[in-house]
Amino acid sequence: MLPRIERRRELDHRMFYLSPVLAVALTIVTGFLLFLAMGYDPLQGVFHFFVSPLLSGYGLAELGLKAGPLILIGVGLALGFRANVWNIGAEGQLTMGAVAGGGIALALWGVDGFWVLPLMCLAGILGGMAYAAIPAFLKARFDVNEILTSLMLTYVATLFLSMLVYGPWRDPMGFNFPQSRMFTESAILPVVLAGTRLHLGVIVALLVAVTGWVLMTRTIIGFQIRVVGQAPAAAAFAGFSRTRMIWLTLMTSGGLAGLAGLFEVAGPIGQLIPVITPGYGFTAIIVAFLGRLNPLGIIPAGLIMALSYIGGENAQVEVGTPQAMTGVFQGMLLFFLLASDFLVRYRIRLQAPGTPAAARAEAPAE
């Protein structure tokens, strides 16, 4: 029996949704083997990485806290990826959103008012959008590759934030630590679950995901995004503007990343510091793919990737595994997902040698 690979006549929809499940399962199995090879108790390792964070209320609240920014950014990126616009600089847009919104918080330091927080959110969104406008303009006007420009700008944004907190925005009473003043109360997001750090941002993230789903599936704009990505020639024929799609998707993903950045500094952090994200902007790329570029699918995908952060910390404390396990698991998961997706488009058949005629008869006409 020789395995034979055939292209499916049409995409296997069941496999399309099973593929992420398969990828997660393969990641856990490989994780087990990896823990074993590194000399840790593999059962303990897998338990503390993937299971025990889910067993406490605190763990679940932290899960929501970390899933929030991943979902927000992931929804924006998914819109772009659908239209073949590859914004991989969300990390930089997140940083600039935090700088813009955090700048408002520092400017209004000590000012009391219900309007402070909404103003900060607006600034966060605009900051992220303005930063995403650079690759959008260069792509739309000169056809410069947005992958490279958005990524280069991430390094620039990190340096910019560092310059501010080491320089003009440094807390005068902060013993020379590179950090801004702590934001005052009116500039801090309200906690939605007493006793935890879970703040309003997670609810916004869920609303954004639902809105994104409605946009993609129920509006003409969503239809245009999908056509531009899947069949550029047809889109051009139908008069859908590619330039408009570039601007639309980069502004959306930039604005959402900026909001996510503002939520980080106005939420769990409460001030500006040189490093405000453990790579949410990059992890959200995996979230987008794991969620099948579907805004609703991005909710569970965001929770799973949030688990990789919390599980990594938890396993570090409980089993002593290195912190870098999180990154390894995240990369592995995306590899397995991309590999599993092969089964969406192709099928593997076992076939007795010497009966090629039967197989040929079944082969799809291409």
Binding site: N145, L159, F289, G327, V328, G331, D341
Partner: protein
């Protein structure tokens, strides 16, 4: 005499800063000429950097270290090849996965090697010639990887332009269907090109951790893999122009280091932005300028190919 000496010394550091860019970009150039876009350069470089460092520290042999780095890069590239060439995965997504995985894996392996000193790659010393003024330090006092990077550039230029297999590689990148129909194995050629890309990126990583800054630092490539990708566009997929581009960027890197050292009143962070901003400017000039260099991109770049059965 002393200013002349300082000038030569500056040029030597420029060569040093340019070499990892040149090696990584050269590998990617060959990969892209075969029609495959591998965005995982950063990840492959990191795999090379950490493997080279770890093996050198563990065995005491820097030669084994360089070998390990090359193998690590090739292994990473092979994984990319399996996913994109055999399993038809999206090349952009797989390249990003390779980078994310490379960053994670390298910090996992490197965790035990932070802050450990290593004997750097030895400078080749040729009696008499290396002691010549100006020419000696400028041309005859580098380590083996620097000479290798230049030899490899010339070799790749010759291979692509003058050899039969170089022509096959270009044919596969320009028109996979035609290359397939006249009997060439498109997938096999692309595998070889992708693995060569990993080999060169691995060496670039080894140069970083064993020569440029002989130590292991987490994510020590700091975006060089992405700058290398931009350099390939800058060179319009030509090896000798790539050499020029890499040395230009080496110059920018050193310029900002000197400016920081001179303390010209600009925050250090602004100076550190320079290589990244320069990359964006160069990409824009290339795309907008009268040369229309991007039209030289291999016609099948990034497109999947599966032979009809």
């Amino acid at each position: 005499m002393s200013s002349e000496f300082a000038f030569v010394l500056t040029l030597v550091t420029v060569i040093s800063a340019a070499t990892p860019l040149l090696l990584a970009a050269l590998g990617e150039l060959v990969t892209e000429r075969s029609g495959v876009l591998n965005l995982g350069v950063e990840g492959m470089m990191l795999a090379g950097a950490v493997s080279g460092f770890a093996v050198t520290v563990s065995t005491g042999s820097v030669a084994l270290g360089v070998l390990a780095a090359a193998l690590a890069g090739m292994l990473m590239a092979f994984v990319f090849g399996v996913l994109t060439l055999s399993l038809m995965a999206n090349q952009v997504a797989t390249g990003l996965a390779l980078t994310i995985f490379g960053i994670g894996l390298s910090s996992l392996i490197g965790a035990g090697f932070v802050g450990i000193p290593v004997t750097p790659l030895p400078k080749l010393h040729i009696p008499v010639i290396s002691s010549l003024p100006v020419v000696g330090p400028l041309l005859f006092s580098h380590d083996a990887l620097i000479y290798l990077s230049i030899a490899l550039t010339v070799g790749v230029a010759w291979f692509l332009k003058r050899t039969r297999w170089g022509m096959v590689l270009r044919a596969v990148g320009e028109s996979d269907e035609s290359a397939h129909s006249i009997g060439y194995n498109v997938i096999a050629v692309r595998y070889l090109a992708v693995v060569f890309g990993g080999f060169a990126s691995g060496l670039a990583g080894a140069f970083l951790s064993l020569s440029y800054t002989p130590m292991w630092i987490e994510h020590m490539t700091a975006g060089r893999g992405w700058i290398a990708l931009a350099l390939v566009v800058f060179s319009s997929w030509r090896p000798l122009r790539l050499l020029f581009g890499a040395y230009l960027f080496g110059g920018v890197t050193i310029l900002q280091l000197y400016a920081q050292g001179a303390g010209i009143g600009v925050p250090a962070q602004i100076m550190s932005m320079l290589p990244y901003v320069a990359t964006i400017i160069v990409l824009t000039v290339i795309a907008a300028g009268p040369w229309r260099a991007r039209l030289d991109a291999p016609a099948c770049l990034g497109k999947p190919f599966r032979p009809a059965t």
